[in-house]
Each structure stands twice: as structure tokens, then as C-alpha cells.
């Protein structure tokens, strides 16, 4: 297909005169002055940018990643990971036990996410009310409705691909609950490349929705620029220091971009937002800044089928099961069951075996299905999440301990995934763990899983849902920001992204972040008008 056949709204917008600066081209310092500066252009930042610029405010967006669009995207992981993901998709927890996928590009993680859209589960809302004094139970509903309309979120109407179909089939056999996923897509061709940037702009990510609107309403975007530090005095932020980044997205401290704004919105996402506040040494009387960062740490189970699965193709996620996510036993860690797209780099790098065994599995690439269990962290004393620290370069590291409670949940999750996969007709299953093998019956799998040593490094653990670190709370002693996103101590600073969540969700986070950001940006607009 030739380039010209696919319209690129970003290329068209830039040609029409959008205000965009690629900071990596700067050779000297620059100063900017604006009403609102927004750090990060993901789910939270870009939606805030659209609403604020439509309200007539002068908006400046600062984004660490590049302004890539469908004309740049390649359906190759070797291009997508280094160019669109934090740390080239090589982000790890401090002890390297968990791999973390997070976007780093205009549109943030929404540019590379898998389009699953779920409203905040009742269990999470109830817990926030009880523990953090914040009652969002009914209040977010109208904002979810707005977000669903804005981003074309609706139930996926096509037949799930085989990788997702197995979840549906297995659940039906076992009498487990399952749900057909709602996706934020418009004209999706079922290609399966959501994680590498949608090649046809069907995914309604921030890149093709709110960012174009903000730019068309006069906002400015500075890409390839890492916001480094907020300057503050007393109870107010007085400026923002930003550094351009180089071709590999490493900051260049020799050049400064100084930004003065009336209001500062931090939306770098979990890990990154708290890191900027830690670098800025802002007041932190609750002691919670950077702490309680949640991951939905996820474990994986592969399954071999006789027939082709071709898990790379088709909508990456279209069915999930919540059978185990809110267990009645308070000592059990809940987990959500989903599928993950099977592309070669993701697959090959996560498989826990090597040498001939690795080659043998890869040879059956198209017959391999992949199920993941996302463990719901943040609801138990032994699941208090991780802590963001700064390394000697000022970059974040997440120290995330894996506890006995977590490993008990992992064993249950492996057992459930194996049962599901066999029920769906798998001929063999294999938890992705260094000591696991292919098991050809459920009994064999159960015995082996019950005997597996569950320890860090042995089990492959990954995350694509980073939450928390700047949690909201009614009481300043219990959080970093207020329920409306305003910082408890610094009056002209808001945090509008996934870092404000006080627990994980037990559901994929994007729609929660859209709903919450929509509500809080409307409140902010009102507050700024009054001021």
C-alpha cells in the first residue's frame, strides 16, 4: 500500500500551520510564557489540553517523546519499541524483576495501547471511598459517557481472534464469567498493530483525537523535550525547566527551555510524574510522593494448539474474564484474565527458556496462544506497590517488592490460566517460568505448577499499567493531590494522569483516567475563570 492512500491527520495539521517545536533542533535556550503548561501528552495530559484550549486558554504541551504519526509508524517492533516506548520498552523495576511497558511519544501510552476501555470497577470506587475519603461512585458516570462518545468507545463487534476466542470458549466451558471488550476505535481493520502505533489512524488515541483539537485551537506542542524541574516558592510554582533530548531521547542539560505559566499541569504518567516532583523537591508532608506505585504485575501462560492461533493478528484484546478479580477471600490476590498480542520480539524476549527449547517454541509461533493474568495490587498490606526513587542521573527507578501474598496469587493465576486453556482445547500449556515445561494435561500442569518455585527472575513478570505515586486523598496527610487533582501544597499545580490513582483498578486504566481527567479539568477551568 502506498503512503498516499492513508490520510495522515498529523501531517495535514502541521501543513495547516499547527504550532509545533521539535526541541532536539534547538541550539540555544528558549523562554515561553503561557496560561497553562501541560507536561506529558498521554491519556490525561492530552485530554486536559483539548478541554483547556477549547475553553480559550493558551496551552503549551511539553512531551519527552517525538511527534510521530501514521506516516512514521512501522509495523516492526524493532522500530516501535525504541521510538515509542519509555526506555525503548526496556524499562524495568529497580531489581529488574518486572518489565514495564509505558509509552513515550506524542499521545503517550494511548498511542501504543491495546484499546481496551473499561469503566472504573465498583470495588475500586468503594475502596477509595473507605480508605481515601473520596466518593466518585456516581460522579464519574457522566464523564465516562462523554469519553465514550468522544473516543468512539463501543463493544467490539467482530469475532475475536483465536487468542481472545480461547478465553471466551474456555469460560463458556467452565461456566466462568467473561466480557466482550469495548474498544476506542473507528474504522479498525483488525490488523493487530495497536502496540506499534495504529497504521491507519483507526485507534482513537490521543494522537489523532484530542491533540489535533488542542493544536487547532491554538495550543503549542514542544516535542522531544523532557520537563526536568519545577521551580517553586511558598505555595506556588514559579517556573518549569525543560531540556531537549537527543536522537535516543536522552536529555541534553546544556540547553534550557524555561516556561512560565499561570497554572502547571503534570501529566507524565505514573513513575514519571512523581519523578519530576522528586527532582523538584516539592513539599511532601504526607511522605507518599512516589510511594504506592501500582503495576497490575502480570504473569503469562502460553498454550499450544493444533490449529493456527496467529496471535499477532486481529484486535489484540477483545475478551476478558473477571472470574477471579474480586475474590471473596480477603487473603487472596485477585487477578484479571486477558490475552496479549503475540509479536516476535515480545514473545521471544519474554519466554523464560533458551537455546534449543527456545527455538522449538518459536518454531510453533503461529500455534501459540498467550494468556495473561493481571494481579490487582493496592488492596492488601502485602501489596502496597512500589516506590519511585531517582538514580544518580535524576531518572526514575521503581523499587517494587514482590511479596508472598503476590506469589500466592501468581500460583492461583497459573492454575486458572492452565485450566482455561485446556478447557478451550489447548494440547499443551506452559507457564512462562524458567523451570516450567510444556504440560500436556491439566493434571500434569496442576502438579507442576503447585511445585514451581515462585521467586523473582524465575517467573516472567510484566506490566503495561502503571498507576499511583501521586495519589489523591481528601486528607492531605494521606495523599499528594486533592480529589480534583490540585496539589495539596502547591496552589497552581494539578496532576491529571494515572499517577493520582490511590490503588490499582483491577481493570485496564485508560477510561478511568479519561473520566477523572475530564471531571477535574472542567473543575480547573471553572477555578481558573474565577481566579
Amino acid at each position: 500500500m502506498s503512503k498516499s492512500l492513508i490520510p495522515d491527520p498529523i501531517a495535514q495539521g502541521l501543513a495547516s500551520g499547527w504550532s509545533h517545536l521539535d526541541a532536539s533542533t534547538l541550539t540555544q535556550d528558549r523562554d515561553f510564557d503561557t496560561d497553562v503548561v501541560i507536561i506529558g501528552t498521554g491519556a490525561g495530559g492530552a485530554l486536559a489540553a483539548e478541554l483547556l484550549s477549547k475553553a480559550g486558554l493558551r496551552v503549551l504541551m511539553v512531551e519527552h517523546g517525538a511527534f510521530y504519526s501514521s506516516s512514521d509508524f512501522r509495523q516492526q517492533e524493532r522500530w516501535a519499541y525504541p521510538n515509542l516506548y519509555q526506555d525503548g520498552a526496556g524499562r524495568k523495576t529497580k531489581d529488574q524483576a518486572i518489565g514495564i511497558l509505558q509509552g513515550r511519544t506524542v499521545g503517550g501510552s494511548t498511542t501504543v495501547n491495546w484499546t481496551t476501555s473499561i469503566r472504573t470497577p465498583k470495588g475500586a470506587l468503594a475502596y477509595w471511598h473507605e480508605q481515601f475519603g473520596v466518593d466518585f461512585a456516581d460522579e464519574l458516570t457522566p464523564y465516562f459517557d462523554k469519553a465514550c462518545e468522544r473516543l468512539s468507545i463501543s463493544e467490539w463487534a467482530l469475532t475475536p481472534n483465536a487468542n481472545n476466542g480461547l478465553i471466551q470458549r474456555g469460560c463458556e466451558k467452565l461456566g466462568w464469567s467473561y466480557t466482550i471488550i469495548h474498544r476506542n476505535v473507528n474504522g479498525c481493520a483488525n490488523t493487530g498493530y495497536c502496540g506499534m502505533g495504529c497504521p491507519i489512524n483507526a485507534k482513537q488515541s490521543m494522537l489523532v483525537t484530542t491533540i489535533p483539537t488542542a493544536l487547532s485551537h491554538g495550543a503549542t506542542l514542544i516535542s522531544r523535550a523532557q520537563a526536568w524541574q519545577l521551580q517553586w516558592q511558598g505555595d506556588a510554582v514559579s517556573g518549569l525547566l525543560v531540556h531537549p533530548v537527543d536522537a535516543q531521547f536522552q536529555p541534553n542539560p546544556a540547553i534550557a527551555i524555561r516556561i512560565k505559566a499561570k497554572h502547571y499541569v503534570l501529566a507524565g504518567g505514573a513513575i514519571n510524574s512523581p519523578a519530576l516532583l522528586l527532582r523538584s523537591n516539592v513539599p511532601n508532608p504526607s511522605g507518599r510522593l512516589g510511594k504506592h506505585t501500582y503495576l497490575h504485575p502480570s504473569v503469562i501462560c502460553g498454550a499450544l494448539f493444533d490449529e493456527d492461533v496467529k496471535g499477532a493478528m486481529g484486535a489484540p484484546q477483545s475478551v476478558y474474564s473477571d472470574q477471579f478479580v474480586w475474590p471473596s477471600d480477603p487473603q487472596a490476590m485477585g487477578f484479571k484474565l486477558e490475552a496479549a498480542p503475540v509479536h516476535p520480539v515480545l514473545m521471544a524476549s519474554k519466554l523464560a527458556v533458551d537455546g534449543q527449547a527456545h527455538a522449538d517454541l518459536m518454531a510453533q509461533f503461529n500455534q501459540l496462544a498467550v494468556t495473561i493474568a493481571l494481579l490487582r495490587d493496592g488492596y492488601h498490606v502485602e501489596a502496597q506497590g512500589g516506590q519511585v526513587e531517582l538514580d544518580s542521573h535524576g531518572q526514575p527507578m521503581l523499587d517494587y517488592p514482590l511479596t508472598e501474598y503476590f506469589w500466592r496469587g501468581v500460583r492461583q493465576a497459573y492454575l486458572a490460566m492452565a485450566e482455561l486453556q485446556f478447557a478451550a482445547g489447548a494440547k499443551a500449556v506452559m507457564p512462562i517460568h524458567q523451570q516450567a515445561q510444556l504440560y500436556s494435561s491439566l493434571d500434569e500442569a496442576k502438579a507442576a505448577i503447585n511445585a514451581l518455585p515462585l521467586e523473582r527472575y524465575q517467573a516472567t513478570v510484566a506490566s503495561a499499567h502503571v498507576m499511583g505515586g501521586c495519589n489523591f486523598s481528601a486528607d492531605p496527610a494521606n495523599g499528594v493531590v486533592r480529589p480534583d487533582g490540585r496539589h495539596h501544597q502547591l496552589a497552581n499545580l494539578s496532576v491529571l494522569d494515572g499517577s493520582v490513582l490511590p490503588t490499582s483498578l483491577g481493570a485496564n486504566p485508560q477510561l478511568t483516567i479519561y473520566g477523572l481527567t475530564w471531571r477535574n479539568t472542567e473543575l480547573l477551568i471553572e477555578q481558573l475563570r474565577k481566579a
Binding site: 500500500m1 525503548g88 538514580d391 542521573h393
Partner: protein, 172 residues
């Protein structure tokens, strides 16, 4: 890992400290993008790829050599995207493995990595995987991910796995 290996590894880490090779991030201007810093990295990766990819590499020696070289090039090109902290940690690992004294202590012999039979190189990697020392577990997992990612990222290596991606335009 048995007790003997454990003690040897402990020795290696002790030696590293004695030689001033810290195992924690140090801030220097050096970066793995510089050709000088690529020396040890290239040597070590060239030695490890044939072991990890045993079974995946083509039987034809020339073709295999080409794939090994392409994989190491891709891995080296990827490293500068990692945070500087991780780059330094890896760099130190490469230097350690390329340093004879440490190789003796770590691997138990003085033969350069590249002269060991492939099975022995894989055994060395498994020693790290099964070690009680977190740093070695990390080295194993980190190198495994880097090298498998670099190998299977290359469209020229997709024929045996029958992965046929759609291309929306020509890329190069």
C-alpha cells in the same frame, strides 16, 4: 550453582570491587554509543549469541555468521535507548566478562569466552540463571531479553516462525 561456583562468583564480585569496577551506576561521560566502549560489549555478545540462539541459527555457517553479526549490531544500536544507569551497568558487565582475571573467577577458566564450545557458553549462562546472586540472575535475564529481542526483531529471521506482517508502505 554449587558451593564451589558460588565461592568463585563471590570472588569475582570481590575482585571487581578491588579493581575499582563498581557494580553500581557511576556517572562518566562514556557511553556505549562510543566505538571504544563497544569493544568489550561486541566481544561478549558475539560469544553469547550462538549459545542462546542455538537451534534457531541456520545450519549454514556463513548464513549463521551473518545472522549473529546482524543480531549483535542491532543489540548495540539499541543500548543507547536504555537509561544511562542501565547502560553503565551493562557496560561494566561486558568489561568484567572481557577481563581475563574476572573471567577466571566468574566462569572458572581462563579460556576466552569465544573459544569455549557453545554448550559451555550456555552452561555459563545457566550458572548465572541458577545463581544465588541477584546480580547474575539479572545479567542472565537482561542479556537473554536483549539478544532474543535483537534477533527476532529482524524481518530476515522471520521465515522459520512464519510471521508475516502487513506492510503499509516500504520502510527503507
Amino acid at each position: 550453582m554449587n558451593r564451589r561456583q558460588f565461592i568463585k562468583t563471590g570472588l569475582a564480585l570481590g575482585t571487581a570491587a578491588a579493581l575499582g569496577v563498581t557494580l553500581y551506576p557511576v556517572v562518566t561521560a562514556e557511553s556505549s554509543t562510543e566505538p571504544a566502549a563497544q569493544g568489550p560489549a561486541r566481544t561478549v555478545l558475539l560469544a553469547l549469541v550462538p549459545a542462546l540462539l542455538f537451534g534457531a541459527l541456520p545450519k549454514d555457517t556463513h548464513a549463521a555468521q551473518q545472522q549473529i553479526a546482524a543480531t549483535v549490531d542491532a543489540a548495540l544500536a539499541f543500548l543507547p535507548y536504555l537509561p544511562q544507569r542501565q547502560q553503565h551497568d551493562l557496560q561494566q558487565l561486558f568489561v568484567m566478562l572481557d577481563t581475563e582475571l574476572l573471567r577466571l573467577a566468574l566462569a572458572g577458566h581462563l579460556t576466552p569466552l569465544a573459544d569455549l564450545p557453545v554448550a559451555a557458553r550456555l552452561a555459563l549462562l545457566h550458572g548465572w540463571r541458577d545463581s544465588f546472586i541477584a546480580l547474575l540472575n539479572q545479567a542472565y535475564s537482561g542479556l537473554r531479553e536483549l539478544l532474543y529481542g535483537s534477533y527476532y526483531g529482524n524481518p530476515e529471521h522471520w521465515a522459520p516462525i512464519a510471521y508475516q506482517p502487513l506492510e503499509f508502505r516500504s520502510y527503507e
